[in-house]
Assembly symmetry: C2
Homo-oligomer: 440 residues x 2
Amino acid sequence: MKLSNYFLPLKKEVPKDAEIISHILMIRAGMCQQSTSGIYSWLPFGKEVLDNIERITKNEMNLAGAVEILMPTIQSSEIWKESGRYNDYGKEMLRILDRNKRELLYGPTNEELVTEIFRTHVNSYKELPLNLYHVQWKFRDELRPRFGVMRGREFLMKDAYSFDIDQKQSIDSYNKMFVAYMQLFKKMGLKAIPMKAETGPIGGDMSHEFIIISNTGESEVYYDKNILKFENDLEDIDYKSNLKKIVDAYTSFYAATDEKHDPLKCKVGKNDLVKTKGIEVGHIFHFGQKYSNKMNAHVHDEHGSSVPVFMGSYGVGISRLVGAIIESSHDDKGIIWPKEVAPYFYNLINLNVENEECNILCLRIYEYMLSKNIKVLYDEKNESIGSKLARADLIGLPFQIIVGPRGLKEGLIEIKNRSSNKIEKIKPEELFNFVSLNKN
Amino acid sequence: MKLSNYFLPLKKEVPKDAEIISHILMIRAGMCQQSTSGIYSWLPFGKEVLDNIERITKNEMNLAGAVEILMPTIQSSEIWKESGRYNDYGKEMLRILDRNKRELLYGPTNEELVTEIFRTHVNSYKELPLNLYHVQWKFRDELRPRFGVMRGREFLMKDAYSFDIDQKQSIDSYNKMFVAYMQLFKKMGLKAIPMKAETGPIGGDMSHEFIIISNTGESEVYYDKNILKFENDLEDIDYKSNLKKIVDAYTSFYAATDEKHDPLKCKVGKNDLVKTKGIEVGHIFHFGQKYSNKMNAHVHDEHGSSVPVFMGSYGVGISRLVGAIIESSHDDKGIIWPKEVAPYFYNLINLNVENEECNILCLRIYEYMLSKNIKVLYDEKNESIGSKLARADLIGLPFQIIVGPRGLKEGLIEIKNRSSNKIEKIKPEELFNFVSLNKN
């Protein structure tokens, strides 16, 4: 993408309500724009990150055997009355009357709707296990929306729902999602910690939150620091195998959110226990027959008996992750995108677009990258060197390739690694080798 | 995808309100499910078609130089009061009060919101032309939702918005979208006809609808049948060139919707004039300064004067297209998917899963296709031959590969072309050659 064909409206001034760094950087880097309290438009640079997070999440869901559907944003109140949550949910639920005065609502979550789909079509254990997921906008009418896309009112969530014939199979499904979550966060370049958590309005007997450690997080969390050593055991998961061992390995370490933390039960030594703040980026629930009982979602088991199906639900905060990633990866100059979610891999910067030699070389690099399907943002704007380099640092693509007349006189161009901020001078012909080793 | 890992809940009985064939077939083929009046969930088979239509549309928008953003579904009433449409829009607009009694609405279209984004960031002609698009759910509270996803209340639309410094540049942008629409419908395997149309609540001085001819269409349309001859002139468009010639070539033929049809001005001979019904799948508008005037979206021109920007808007009915394609491509056995939008290219059917030879050959074919990234749905369910073949015809994937013990005795398998319904018997080893010639 050439910068002059793109829409990247950087801002120097940010609104007063932008309190945390991810919100400030998202506004400054032209990623989003608030349209009204807690409701945002995604500008191209933000949309591309959102898409990457969604793609990585969906890929892992598919690998884990979940099947993608798409439920609507607007739901009827009827199914919520069946489950008993229409009154329970309170003012966070955005309630709507249509032109015929029928009660609708903007879905804050989808347990009821997916249970209705399930009971319409499935009536035998032979069709289980089944896991249906979707990625759709949700709405929660927060009293005080804040922190930009991290606690907005309209937000994008991946939510999956498992259906099983009994408790044992249902726990297997829960474990599969637990492991899939560890995988997908890792594939986004993130270090998430699974923690015992409250079930809240979803309900159920077991729940884990997936937390990214960050000073600006809203949750207070406690964990045994040895859990972090476990991270690299998750390559090449076979989702058809039983994953209990992996889950047990994780859950053998103490890790709990504030509400679940119990100093009496916590046997972790002082030197190992970390108390810190974190951002919830995923939350999984096992709630057995809670909804299937109330909503009459029964299946026949192998003996012909009709039993309420066992369920769990599994959420990833897709839009929140954009903010969470920035919270955990930035410096005083701007964002530092993990390679996995960066909108572009390379930022090609032409320091002097009036110099023929710079133009020819940049165009050659640009077209080479396009031909190799390497994602590159080419800054060919006629602006000062200072503003070009500041922009590149602010938007934080993994590598900057800086081409200027002074360097070219010595036959050199620069590659800046945005993560280390180290600059390497190389000959232009060496770039093709570098690119073949470092690509998206 | 193996059928037993998929979720394809076929239905024999359809609800009474399913009047038209696309609605009936979408229910029977397990593509969608109504959750409440005019609001649908998309089941996996429907979701994949929806995704294909969205992908083809986005690709063409990107080729034409439009840049993707994502605006929210919920908007504030304020900007609609600025444009004057808050009262004009009537009961079709879904109006909402949040917990603080602020007036929100579920966007039926996005002229106001995109104009607000534009005026926040752009103030010079140097940043023009600009075309911003998104694909997002819209809501129109239809009095009588009907025809399934063809006239639902919650529907998916691609809407693009062009911004230009003057009328001439703005018409160039309109022409670019006109041609892009002809391209993208063609790339979906559709024959769309551009017709002069009313501008309705969007407003403006010029508008075209893109119509697919169908007996069940709601629009009455008139066109010179010679326009159909033009279809093949659209390969390899250079969107950087001026596309007026192509648009002029199309619009030189008479083609108008009912509202715009004027028997006095229509000079087409009786033998050439076709009067028929059609489905609107796209609609483009040129409305110049209508919104920029009211919403104060000004830019500086090259003389330093501040002028309201010139705009147009361009819609494709992504979810409606799923129904429209079925309306124009089916037979009495079921759907016939155009190759371009089919969820899977091949339907591999194992007629006897208890026969070792069938299983081995099918698995070899299946794994070969996966290794070549060819989209295949493998029916390995233990069901009767009759129900397997009926299902295959109903879901209408382009090619069926039928493997059964009787054929294998003669060393043959069958390939059925769902479009012609012709069956070819070939040797298994010939299949690999067939597949290399016929792939998605």
